[in-house]
Point group: C2
Chain length 308, copies 2
Amino acid sequence: MSINQTLIFGHKNPDTDSIMSSMVMANLENQLGNQAKAVRLGNINKETEYVFKYLGIETPELISDVEDGQNVILVDHNESTQSANNLSNAIIKKVVDHHTMNFVAPYQLYYRTEPVGCTSTVLYKMYKEYDIPITKNIATMMLSAIISDTLLFKSPTCTPDDKTIAEKLSKIAEVDINTYGTDLLKAGTDLSDYTPEQVINIDSKLFEKGGKKFKIAQINTADIDSVFKNKVYFEAAINDEIKKDNLDLYVFAATDILNSNSKIISLGNDSGIVEKAYGVTLDDNTAMLENVVSRKKQMLPKILENLD
Amino acid sequence: MSINQTLIFGHKNPDTDSIMSSMVMANLENQLGNQAKAVRLGNINKETEYVFKYLGIETPELISDVEDGQNVILVDHNESTQSANNLSNAIIKKVVDHHTMNFVAPYQLYYRTEPVGCTSTVLYKMYKEYDIPITKNIATMMLSAIISDTLLFKSPTCTPDDKTIAEKLSKIAEVDINTYGTDLLKAGTDLSDYTPEQVINIDSKLFEKGGKKFKIAQINTADIDSVFKNKVYFEAAINDEIKKDNLDLYVFAATDILNSNSKIISLGNDSGIVEKAYGVTLDDNTAMLENVVSRKKQMLPKILENLD
């Protein structure tokens, strides 16, 4: 892998936005005459796999570390805890994101983030700005990312920009948003091939604040009860991770994409934080959070607030 | 001052880019339907004054603090040490910048920075992206900022984007770049009305790294020798600041805009850092740095490297 070729990747435990946005950004860079290649920092989940099968294309190469001096572009994240190992010795040329920020660079770079629901929504604007044509495949990738991140526009993270742009993209992609979107989200709820360890790592993110370390993992489901049949196995897997990574808190949320609420398992020394945060009482480590679907807007801020 | 109206400002000790970019950004926001107003965090320097006289318009209101909950937009800076007092209790809605980054926001926002020589270069692209017309006055403001930050394209911070965009702006502004640019830069070299305390604060920036605090101040001149006739007065003023602000290092640079080099005064316990950084020997606290004109690209990085 040449360090002259810029590597583009999303966060660890990649979701559909991280994977699609890295490929969409790589295409943009190549169209602009910059040598760039999308890679990924983890396994493809079932939802993302649906897009690859739909398009009949190959997944990006898996990496875990970057070399010293490697040029990189980060999409869908900016914090080093969520990024490739050895990132501090790489050169970050660009960041395109839509998350809160915790970022230091002792050099100038291109950084673009907007308060929208999906990285691909920002990328769509960049394609327009640079006047780069959006092909049917690229449109399908961006549309899939927006549907995934906004739970088909039902998440409170969804903004008017996300919806308007998704509608434009659906025309280029030649798909009906609701049909394609429901199929995509449902594909992501299939847990049949996963071990409990894999389920809790489908989409988990590590956060740190004031010396405390915690993870919030989230899966989508159309049937919470069937997920919780395996509760004891998830608990064992979570407790293993808590021990291994020295975590103070682990929140695992199964989010019902049809009814827009989440049932959680909360474990770790600080597990009680969720009781304060949501005014609920944990019953055998679990609680139902009504109308809570967004990790970014409804889970992370509440936990951060109550962490002290 | 209503907290519903977004305040837009550049860094403390504002230069032409900080002042012009805040006004250009305010116009963009207003054109986009957002209530916004440019303000400034310090006195207007002679160079910037030249633009106001040329355009026959009023300077923005001076502020030092922002209220709790105030919506703000930062231009031409992102670090809180260079910004308004009480910034941590304001809500940063957007940042448009071209500097290195040291930024944390526990909420989503719009952030756009590019590795170019001037904030106004980024703003020009935003006007194009949003398809907002650039009037003659707005073009003159942006052009003035680019000429100032790039020393009429002579600074190593100048990029092809800065030059191309400046040329486009000069047509809208209906000025000859070289004539207007030389007049603008020369206006900035007039120190006759300033006390020594004011001279060292025309464009000084505070930096911090690993517990060390230092300032780099810079003025432009067409005649270094005449500036250094007042050396002892500058030294007294600098030593007062070092004591007052507990600084480890103060570098004052008089940059010759015609011959593209800088003569510096280095004071403070860490004054010797400049000797290591540039392979020079301080003679009575001063040294000539050949081909050094950019604080951002040629002064700050060398000092940071040698600070440990």
